[in-house]
């Protein structure tokens, strides 16, 4: 029997200890990567509507084909660029000298906040910005982990809050003008067919452009987070690009999420705000694509979700005889206002529990999985899918499905009622 203080046992216990901590460390890195990929999934899931709600609503594409196309374009888009991949935490949370060391636990807490808020807004069918949810979650976690001073509030105001207020306004105005123009040019007073149904064909291309632009932007946020974690774990050199495996995993996660389709949000954007007609849908998608491309190339970052919602509202205002349901628009606006603080609160709570160490992380995960399962269970009560996304919006449409009301044949030899 050796005494406990002998050099050999000390060495052995140190070895065991260091092995144990390194296992813990990789475990949390793996957990963060899994959660980041799940966040990517919810991101795709949430944002299918931005590109595909209007073409589905006007019948330009079958719902399943539309989401499949969006999924493929998101997959392709994720491989096209890695430019924005590292902007996610740069600037907003003070890093480096005198700043905070972002720990994997904090990123984990931030992701939990973002995922839960994304699922809650999905449950209510609200299109809300996934990047705001991610920012909010990370900010909440950073405040708990490193105090209020760790967040640069001026940057937050300039980069997140103001753009959020301005993007629907710009997109709405652009869509309003485009819609007016589309109807003015194709309007005929001589009762000959106006060919407006031809806009359906163009919608396929305009919405594809939105989906591709989304893929190049949004998958990169997750790539950025995963790369950040790998760098902080020492698996990658600081400042290195996301590895191919990370890019592939993120691209697949966002594509699968997009294909699954957040049908509740598609319903809100496609029918909830205003009844979209082909010309109007084309105008809305074109203005969404134009606004996003202009913003990403002229350096004033705008959220895809907010641009898309603003476009739909603007096009609803632009078409004669259409009305915008301002109640729904108000609910969406409220959702946007709450996104940042709400996900920050969830992220902060998760970070607070995470301070307990390994036990805290385990509690975090158990609670998060519980909440996610609960949200999916609640969603089963009134399931919205490709089949019924636009039915059951009002009772008249529902009864039409049941009794098969035939369309009354138009008497005039006028074109389609498009």
């Amino acid at each position: 029997m050796r005494p406990p203080g002998s050099p050999r046992t000390r060495q052995a216990s140190r070895a065991r200890y260091s092995r144990k901590t390194s296992v813990d460390f990789t475990l949390i890195v793996v957990l963060v990567i899994v959660l980041a990929l799940f966040f990517d999934f919810t991101n795709g899931f949430h944002d299918t509507a931005n590109a595909m709600a209007t073409p589905i609503a006007t019948g330009a594409m079958r719902p399943k084909i539309a989401v499949a196309l969006a999924a493929v374009l998101n997959l392709v888009g994720a491989f096209l660029s890695t430019e924005v991949a590292k902007t996610i935490s740069n600037g907003l949370i003070k890093e480096g000298g005198g700043g905070v060391q972002i720990t994997p636990t904090m990123i984990l807490a931030g992701l939990v906040g973002a995922i839960i808020w994304n699922l809650v807004t999905w449950l209510f069918g609200l299109p809300s910005s996934s990047s705001h949810a991610l920012f909010g979650g990370l900010i909440g976690a950073a405040i708990v982990g490193a105090g209020f001073a760790s967040v640069d509030y001026l940057v937050l105001l300039d980069k997140v809050i103001f753009p959020a207020l301005l993007s629907p306004v710009i997109a709405g105005f652009v869509a309003f003008c485009s819609t007016r123009l589309a109807y003015a040019i194709t309007r005929r007073y001589d009762r000959l067919p106006d060919g407006r149904a031809g806009f359906r064909f163009a919608q396929i291309f305009s919405s594809s452009l939105v989906a591709l632009a989304h893929g190049t932007n949004d998958a990169q946020k997750t790539m950025g987070v995963i790369t950040l974690v790998l760098i902080s774990a020492g698996a990658l050199a600081p400042g290195s690009n996301p590895p191919v495996l990370v890019i592939t995993a993120c691209a697949l996660a966002i594509a699968v999420g997009t294909y699954t389709g957040g049908w509740r949000i598609i319903r809100t954007l496609g029918k909830g705000l205003t009844d979209v007609k082909p010309a109007q849908g084309f105008a809305a998608e074109t203005s969404t694509a134009a606004t996003i491309l202009a913003s990403s190339h002229l350096g004033f970052a705008l959220s895809t979700t907010q641009v898309a919602s603003g476009s739909v509202i603007g096009s609803g205002l632009g078409r004669r005889g259409s009305s915008v349901r301002w109640g729904t628009a108000g609910r969406i606006g409220l959702g946007w206002l709450m996104t940042l603080p709400a996900s920050a609160v969830v992220g902060a709570m998760a970070a607070f529990i995470g301070l307990l160490g390994v036990v805290g992380v385990v509690i975090d995960l158990v609670v998060a999985v519980g909440v996610i399962v609960l949200i999916f269970a609640i969603s089963k009560r009134n399931q919205v899918s490709a089949r019924n996304a636009f039915q059951g919006v009002n009772e008249v449409a529902e009864s039409g499905r049941v009794v098969k009301i035939r369309k009354v044949k138009p008497k005039k030899a006028r074109g389609q009622a498009a």
Binding site: L80, L181, T186, L192, P193, G198, L293, G400
Partner: protein
């Protein structure tokens, strides 16, 4: 850097407004010229999401026929029709080019060396 960069904000708004209106106007003009030339497109919805207006294939075919018949009553001379068709196809081609430019802007590998 404090405050919003209003210059870049206005730049984004202006660029988006001009490009979006240009594309929409071109495509709309193309459709207008097609219908002027007596070839108004007839695109039946792929799916009737609004359960009330369900059109059977027979009804859709009848609608297409009716549109064709109505369009044939165009007062234009054959040359005018040909010109209208030419303008229409030119508009669509320009629209296609703008979409390609959009893809060029989206893919960084194309515009960055």
């Amino acid at each position: 850097m404090n405050g919003i960069d209003w210059v870049s904000f206005l730049l984004v708004a202006g660029a988006a407004l001009i490009s979006s209106c240009a594309v929409v106007a071109l495509y709309a003009l193309g459709l207008r010229m097609l219908s002027t030339a007596g070839k108004a497109p007839h695109v039946t919805p792929a799916e009737f999401t609004d359960a009330i207006t369900i059109v059977t294939p027979t009804e859709a075919a009848a609608e297409a026929k009716r549109i064709k018949k109505a369009a044939a009553r165009s007062p234009l001379t054959p040359w005018q029709k040909r010109l209208a068709l030419f303008v229409a196809y030119t508009c669509f081609v320009i629209c296609g080019l703008v979409v390609l430019f959009g893809i060029y802007l989206i893919v960084p590998a194309l515009h960055e060396h």
